[in-house]
Amino acid sequence: MDKVRDRILSGFSVAGLFVFLYWAQGNATEYQVRLLNNCAIFITLAVSYNLINGICGQFSLEPNAFVAIGAYTSALLTMTPAEKQLSFIIEPLVWPLNVISFPFWLSLLVAGTVTAFLALLMGFPVFRVRGDYLAIVTLGFGEVVRVVANNLQSVTNGPLGLKGIAPYTNLWWSFGFMTLTLFFVHRLTGSSFGRAMKAIREDEVAAEAMGVRSFRHKMMAFTVSGFFEGVAGGMLAHLITTISPVLFTFFLTFNLLIIIVVGGLGSTTGSAIAAVLFVLGGEALRAVEEPFSVGPLQVPGIPGMRMVIFSLILIVVMIFARKGVMGREEFSWQGLINLIRGVQESGVQGVK
């Protein structure tokens, strides 16, 4: 009975989301649409990053590499030859990329597949090490990708980057893909593969002793993560319409890290909630960078204060609230009902 109820409620929520999107498409301001798109893309990124970091427990710092690869691949595939001519002014683009032009959905698919394939290749050296070394090796790969993108003039146009990418991403694409990612990751985590990954996170040696092939599962998490991050990168490229290597520095990884830590390492729901908080909070904190007044005090705006506050939040969360917002728990309709009932009861008792 509960399962049926859950399914109905989930179905209604998804339908409600798409009704909202339909309304927003026509009526919301451009700024709000952009915020919504950002939210969706960051939720996708956070949820897939959480898969390798939080659920499989392998502390990796690779998202900026995968997002970069996905963005460049997708952009290079969708731009028409004329647009490419405009961008590649120093060195012409290498064949066959300079003559092909794919439709959007195909380029996203190819971007995801290429990124997943590269994740597969990367996984072989990366998973030979553990813990701190894994972090540094993945960070190193991220830097290598950025340096290559910066220098491979004939493929990525070097530091000039690609401009004039067609703005294909709209609410349907970003939220549609986000729903797909959430669904896929949720089902993966609940399956036996997900349980194996969690076992690896808790105690890899014991998991191996129980017969879990840790390399295989780590690789699985890594490649799935890579696929979704690559596609999200492609959508990001078609949202921002200009990409260059400076977009994909460690900064991006750091932002995603803050998101999944604050949301709760290991909780898909937590990452999604934290991603929304991050995008909206980042906008709200813009106020800190303008002069504002607190009562009689006039506080001058300090540009850059936003990132100081974000880093402080990360440090404070790590020291005082390591579990983050959701800890390891996921959202469930039963949990929400219990929460509402609890609030109702305490409300009633308050009245008494």
Partner: protein, 295 residues
């Protein structure tokens, strides 16, 4: 490539390599004792440069006063970071300490951006470092002699502290088993603060040398030296001070000679360091000198 060009690049390589080594020995010392990759090491280096810079600028102190002041203030900063950020997560799983280190690193970078401004500032190079020496076809700055000497003396100083003093003995003991050392009545927190102070002072010394060599400082200058110092430390055997110095030297030489031999790949030189890191971790993870890779 003629012999004199090769010799020139060799001198450049030794100069750069000993710089990497100087930064790496602080990095590896902290890791060896606390098993913590101090992501913030590069940013502590950056703060050291700025301390020295402002000591010269605001107080008009001569360089031989402001450099030691910069180093001293950075040591205090290191103690503050240890007490404020790393001490509360000492008991937590390793991932938390790592994430906190990343958080501290970003905090320092953005604080530097807010306090000092993003525009690169010129670092004063005193004449004693800037004289150009010539020897046949080869030219180099006196700086290229100073850096290896300072690195060498810092290495000797660190080796003396770690192997010949009581504090050093406590440090080595803590790297084996922190709990038992606590049981032996040693104030572990005090020793770790001293470790951080020493490591940060070395980072500041390395940073000031870096700023003398590449006389522009900006809040993000510490990232690349920090990462390369880590590669150097792993190359030489993480946790081993002598290994870090050797690793740094090797890394600097390889970087300069690779660019000298294949100038068209000069843009990729940062990537070389990481490829070396990945290679070492794949084929000889204990590094050149080799210590058991911790779990």
């Amino acid at each position: 490539m003629t012999f004199s060009i090769f010799l020139q690049q060799l001198i450049n390589g030794v100069s750069l390599g000993s710089l990497y080594g100087l930064i790496a020995i602080g990095y590896t010392m902290v890791y060896g004792i606390l098993r913590l990759i101090n992501f913030a090491h590069g940013d502590v280096l950056m703060m050291g440069c700025y301390f020295a810079f402002y000591a010269i600028l605001i107080f008009s102190l001569p360089w031989w006063v402001s450099f030691p002041i910069g180093i001293f203030l950075t040591a205090l900063l290191g103690i503050a970071i240890d007490r404020g950020a790393y001490l509360p997560v000492r008991k937590a799983p390793r991932i938390s300490a790592l994430i906190t280190a990343i958080g501290v690193s970003f905090f320092l970078e953005n604080l530097g951006l807010v306090l000092f401004g993003g525009r690169p500032k010129p670092f004063h190079r005193p004449p004693v470092f800037g004289k150009v020496l010539e020897w046949g076809d080869i030219r180099f700055l006196t700086l290229s002699l100073w850096i290896p000497s300072i690195a060498f003396f810092s290495l000797l100083l660190l080796l003396w502290v770690v192997y010949r003093t009581r504090t050093g003995r406590a440090m080595r003991a803590i790297s084996r088993d922190m709990e038992t050392v606590r049981l032996m009545g040693v104030d572990v927190n005090r020793i770790t603060s001293i470790t951080f102070a020493l490591g940060s002072a070395l980072a500041a010394a390395g940073g000031i040398m870096w700023a003398l060599k590449f006389p522009q400082i900006d809040p993000y200058m510490g990232i690349i030296p920090g990462l390369k110092a880590f590669v150097a430390a792993v190359l030489g055997g993480i946790g081993n001070v002598l290994g870090a110095a050797l690793g740094g030297l090797l890394l600097g030489l390889v970087e300069i000679l690779l660019v000298a031999l294949m100038p068209s790949l000069a843009g990729y030189k940062d990537a070389f360091a990481f490829l070396i890191l990945i290679g070492i971790l794949l084929f000889k993870p204990t590094g050149i000198i080799g210590e058991k890779l911790p779990d």
